[in-house]
Subunit: 364 residues, 2 copies
């Protein structure tokens, strides 16, 4: 157990932006919400998974909907208190700790706001190890854990509790209500015993975020070249350095689809790369050769500051580095690839781990 204060939150948010793989929503607004709650109510205790009793009742906290809506539709104290009361009453159990379900993007931050306000600890685990666009895309789905009973509330006080026959149905019904509530709501789902977190959760992901964030923040303080420090700290696979020369965007069915095209600079001069995204980056290729696909993380960062650039901030002329990060091991299983592999997203290619693709890649 250790305490998470405003300083730690800063680093976790920066790391969560990288784990967002271009999506998950900019953690900036979430960071303000979390810091505000901590300033008001005190620091949050972060529990490692092994500190959680097997029979402890662990309740994930997240927002569902368009993260950009958060900038206009604030989250207050009421939502988390309401979720807490709904869940404990419906299950008839006392909540032992909150947990993030999606460590990448804005959902890395909101559990800290809830934990500060309700005086509960947070478990250092999640169900993705990154960001994904749909709520059934968690390790717990592979383990047969139901997303429901799921609690949902908007900022006005409307609530719903869902119980569904599959986690895809949870996604469909909750998404419909989210849209009716104005595009963003607060949710608790995959409420589970500590034992299940231990078996199927992505362990230490908050700590990993914090380490990644700190590495980015201090990248110029190390002994070596900033870029070497960055790749050493992130264990990332360098795929390209380039200037953004085109961004194509399309909004379809509540998702942001698009493609970014990079013209090589430095050692990549004369080459061309592109990435395709659906909220998160799905595929990266150099000179037409695929170097990474989902579920591995494809991250685009500013080539000077190494700050992650989310897909909605991609713009002409920006100089960036494109890198790949290994996803959580379980995503590479057949069940994992069925949930979040390239074909689920309509990308017609087999999954090959990023480390293998990069080895045989275009400029290898």
């Amino acid at each position: 157990m250790r305490k998470i204060g405003v300083k730690e939150i800063e680093d976790i948010a920066l790391g969560a932006a990288l784990l967002g793989a271009g999506g998950g929503g900019d953690p900036y607004v979430g960071k303000l919400i979390a810091c505000n709650a901590i300033a008001e109510c005190g620091e949050v205790s972060l529990l490692s998974v092994d500190e959680v009793p097997d029979d402890a009742f662990i309740v994930p906290i997240a927002m569902m909907g368009a993260p950009t809506v958060l900038a206009e539709k604030a989250i207050g104290n009421g939502e988390y208190r309401r979720l807490h009361d709904m869940v404990s009453r419906f299950f008839g159990r006392e909540i032992y700790a909150f947990m993030p379900m999606e460590a990448g993007g804005v959902n890395s931050m909101l559990p800290f706001a809830a934990a500060a306000r309700l005086g509960l600890p947070i478990v250092d685990a999640d169900g993705m190890g990154r960001a994904f666009p749909e709520l059934q895309m968690v390790t717990f789905t592979m383990a047969g854990v139901s997303a429901t009973p799921m609690a949902l509330t908007d900022e006005k006080g409307n609530t719903a509790i869902f119980q569904t026959i599959t986690n895809k149905w949870t996604e469909d019904l909750a998404r419909a209500v989210t849209m009716s509530c104005g595009g963003s709501v607060s949710i608790s789902l995959y409420c589970m015993d500590g034992k299940i977190v231990k078996q199927y959760g992505v362990r230490d992901i908050v700590t990993r975020s914090e380490r990644l964030g700190r590495a980015i923040r201090t990248v110029k303080q190390g002994a070596g070249a900033p870029e070497d420090n960055f790749f050493a700290a992130t264990e990332g696979f360098k795929m390209f350095r380039g200037k953004i020369v085109d961004v194509l965007r399309e909004t379809r069915g509540a998702f942001n689809f698009g493609k970014v095209i990079l013209e090589g600079i430095g050692e990549y001069k004369g080459h061309v790369a592109h990435a395709e995204f659906q909220n998160e980056n799905l595929l990266a290729a150099v000179d037409g050769t695929i170097l990474a696909t989902t579920p591995d993380l494809i991250c685009i960062v500013d080539s000077e500051t190494f700050t992650p650039v989310p897909t909605d901030a991609l713009k002409y002329g920006k100089r960036v580095l494109m890198l790949g990060l290994k996803c959580f091991e379980t995503w590479r299983s057949p069940a994992g690839l069925e949930l979040v592999g390239p074909r689920y997203f309509g990308v017609d290619t087999d999954y090959i781990p990023v480390e293998e693709r990069v080895k045989g890649g275009a400029l290898a």
Copy 2:
């Protein structure tokens, strides 16, 4: 208390078609569902409102969505058992009786199916005294009764429990889920104490439906002319007799909008009438003079058999009678007219009771 069997159901369904005022869905499929449940599980006890204890827990049963979907998506035993268990568990109360919330159209029948299957009685009251298109349009909304906690289930086993800040929000959120579930679901809402039913419910509406249905069925058996028997039994205001010469239809936002035009026959020869509808008939006019508006009931029946003709069965050449029925008294209050008056439906005219409009009407 009296028993409702298959014979009574036939008459209630026919009367409910008249109270549907053109909408509410053809009770035919609902009748099959109710008769099937009664044949399998036995007759249903109908309680008059005064037989219900003040503190008895009364649970309405209805379907939400497009009634036509029922013909393809059957309702089985599971839905009502599920609603029963969800509601009694969530409230922590034993259900004393079911109740219809909408006596017009298909929702007149489904509570009988639920009551037969669960072995519970039905209270002889509803919240509309007719059919209306949205779920906040009940007398109980005027009394400040919340539609929620509301339980919803589809035939597959997906469920939701809503708690909302207004009954309009219930409508919006539940409608979104209904659409995601394929267009029709089973619901329990406005769960309440017997005392509230006594204060605000539309009393004896099931018995009135049955009486209306029997009158239509036996209209040619009376001493007088069938038409005189019909108007005597229904207390209807005759507005027009004519041949349908045009029907305009438009589907907008899950509602059926439209207009039917009648060319006078018999005593109305040389005159023209029309009715406008949004699921239910909203306005009736003869030679441009309005003779009735919502919330009074505007009914169109076959001029030979007096069988009600729902708006979706209106077609060229059919000979019909158009009549008005007084709505439940409370709908005529300012609060009632705000919920279901002509202006709510975009009909730009003041509400004047049908009996006054007809007196000063076009052919009076």
